[in-house]
Assembly symmetry: C2
């Protein structure tokens, strides 16, 4: 295909993707679901799971897809743009990340997150082992240990950005429930990503690569927190114009640092989102970080992030789950994910002295897997750790746990109640 046809196709794809996300969004809104959930679903619907089932030829011609990745198909150009959208989004999450809040309630957050992580990890790990042994749901190359670690890690995931958004949306910022949930979510995600790094490193089988991944990752965290953050803080002038506002070259500098971070963590075989997130936490706070957010968030959320959901959805083949035992496994994964996370988190929160209502709220919020799960399983699929069948199961798990969050939260913790709890404001 030549460049002219590439561009025609790309603009039409864009229009279809944006339209689909909006239509699903309107339906989702009626059920009290946030837009991000709608986009996760819209991506799957545009792929072989629905559109490709109803009109295979249309789907094929609109989104030509070559899993062998040998020619100029949609995936060749959708992938870099979708990764750019993802990196920008995680950069924003890093910009919004408040180290101070997590530090303040570190103890209770650790209590909730640790207990709410062990359960899903052990359950997920056990299920991974069983599926590897009996299910045939992992490619040959994947060992039993890697299967356990990967499924365990993917169960540990908490949709940290979504959790933060729901808490903000419900006006729970600064409440005990909100603060503990955000802190616990951040810790959970960090640990899950470290586990993923371990799996990816072990999967590369050569030990030097494993060391490079883990050592490089730790080194990068130290570099960013110990060196980059204070340096940027000292040279705030680089980011601002004479009036003290973020300048255009300040914005470009921030984007350049983000690209370098994403490139580095990608090149040591972790994931671009790590680097983008970490660099985001290091940008000086105040006018600068809020200016960067204001300028990159709208286009990222409206245009680029939906491309990632579509990319992920085009890889999802729910039609592969065409046998009863596969549906059974899908259900088992879902039950393990929900039980391991929701029940364990709520129990831990309740035992640590929170009210039943607050404990239930935290459990429900921590249970949503959202975007983060899609990232981790896309990485697993891309590296050949999991099969397309297991990928489809995990996509369903991610969507269902995310769909559950908002209505269940409203059911257990009415907005009214949460407003009454203002004495908990910290």
């Amino acid at each position: 295909m030549n460049n002219l046809n590439l561009a025609i196709q790309f603009f039409f794809q864009l229009a279809v993707i944006l339209g689909a996300c909006r239509i699903v969004g309107l339906i989702a809104k009626r059920f009290g679901q946030p837009q991000v959930v709608a986009e996760m679903i819209a991506g799957v619907l545009l792929g072989p799971s629905l559109f490709g089932l109803l009109a295979p030829q249309w789907q094929e011609s609109l989104f030509p897809w070559d899993p062998k990745q040998s020619s100029r198909d949609t995936s060749a150009y959708l992938f870099p743009v979708s990764q750019l959208g993802l990196a920008l989004y995680m950069f924003i999450v890093g910009l919004e990340f408040r180290v101070d809040i997590v530090r303040k309630h570190l103890k209770s957050s650790i209590a909730v997150s640790a207990s709410g992580m062990l359960a899903p990890f052990i359950l997920g790990g056990a299920l991974g082992y069983l599926l590897h042994r009996f299910g045939g749901l992992f490619p040959q190359k994947t060992s039993a240990l890697e299967a356990s670690l990967f499924l365990g890690a993917s169960m540990c995931i908490t949709a940290f950005p979504m959790l933060a958004r729901i808490i903000h949306f419900k006006g729970l910022n600064g409440t005990l429930m909100g603060t503990v949930a955000i802190g616990a979510g951040a810790i959970d995600d960090a640990v899950a990503w470290c586990l993923l790094a371990l799996v990816l490193a072990s999967f590369d089988s050569d030990m030097s690569q494993a060391l490079r991944s883990i050592g490089g990752g730790l080194g990068f965290v130290l570099l960013v927190t110990m060196l980059l953050r204070p340096i940027l803080e000292r040279f705030r002038g680089l980011f601002v114009d004479p009036a003290g506002k973020l300048s255009e070259s300040g914005l470009v500098l921030a984007l350049m640092l983000m690209s370098l971070g994403a490139w580095f963590t990608d090149s040591i075989h972790l994931h671009a989102v790590f680097g983008a997130f970490l660099v985001g936490t290091s940008i000086p706070r105040g006018e600068i970080h809020s200016g960067v957010i204001d300028r990159i968030q709208p286009l990222t959320v409206a245009l680029l992030l939906p491309l990632f959901f579509t990319y992920s959805g085009l890889n999802t083949r729910i039609g592969l789950l065409n046998q009863f035992w596969l549906l059974g496994i899908c259900l088992a994964i879902l039950v393990v994910a929900v039980l391991g996370k929701w029940a364990a988190c709520s129990l831990a929160a309740w035992l640590s002295g929170l009210s039943t209502r607050e404990a239930m709220g935290i459990g429900v919020l921590m249970n949503a897997r959202g975007l983060m799960e899609l990232i981790i399983i896309n990485k697993g699929l891309e590296r050949g750790i999991i099969s397309y069948e297991l990928f489809a199961c995990l996509v369903i798990m991610a969507i269902v746990t995310t769909l559950m969050a908002s209505p269940l939260f409203d059911r257990f913790c009415h907005a009214k109640d949460s407003q009454r709890q203002t004495h908990n404001k910290l």
Copy 2:
């Protein structure tokens, strides 16, 4: 190359592109040149013209380029993103376009633009004919008529968005000089694009395609101005939230319309920028259009537009101009471009009663070819109308005429003088 390596490469390319644009930008600033000029030059420097000359292997490994377009090289994914950046930028230009101003001074604008267009078109067309006959600078497939039309059209180009930006930057909005220049620039560009459409259509050699291009283009203009604009104006509510501000779904709707416009004009073999620009002019004015600009401009200008300049620069091989006669032709093109545009525009403005100073200012501004020239010649190269050698000559012409604009303008029309001329404010 697999997707993992694609992404690593993409993020590193991003960091290099953003860095190069900033460094050249800092140098350009010292000489009073705007950032957009710096980015045009940075793109060329990153390509085979400088970076590839100094360190061919590094350049090759950083920006792998396959002109046969058969594999997953940089151009396969850089092209769609760069087109997206360009479409978004032209969408912004359309959003900022003020039909009322052009309408108000239609007569004097037409006078300046018509005379300032005939000269470059005739001179360019004659040069095109000569080069086709004697220079061998056009591929075999290109006829003498097409060569004349193409070179004539490309001489007519005025960097309309840049002209608008310089006028805004110098505080000349609303002055007689500023208004006439903007109006004339807009008309010039519109006519040049129509000529390009004619060339492209004739180049397709089958008449039905030519009719589809011209008819489709005219139909689209009518559709947008007669139908889309009043409909969007009537349904302003679709764009705003209850508080009357642009909503997130309003932004997505605008982006969807832009994608559809870009797709349509691309698919009738014109160019995506037409559709994006036209749709931009149809978005309801006021809170809505300024909200859309605010949200998409920062990331588009800081991140996506530099990708277009790089894409264009990677296609530029100034090294091809390695013979004296080629350098001579390059010089001839430059002289014809400057004489035809600057001299003719200034003369027309002067004859229509403007002061010498204002006439010179208008001529200098109209002479800058900027981004628009790069778009038109990239299209010519992509469709095989011009050779790589002629492309390189035209890139140099575009850069030099753009570089001239700011210092010459300052020389002939000091900022002080222009402030004194406030009695000319309309």
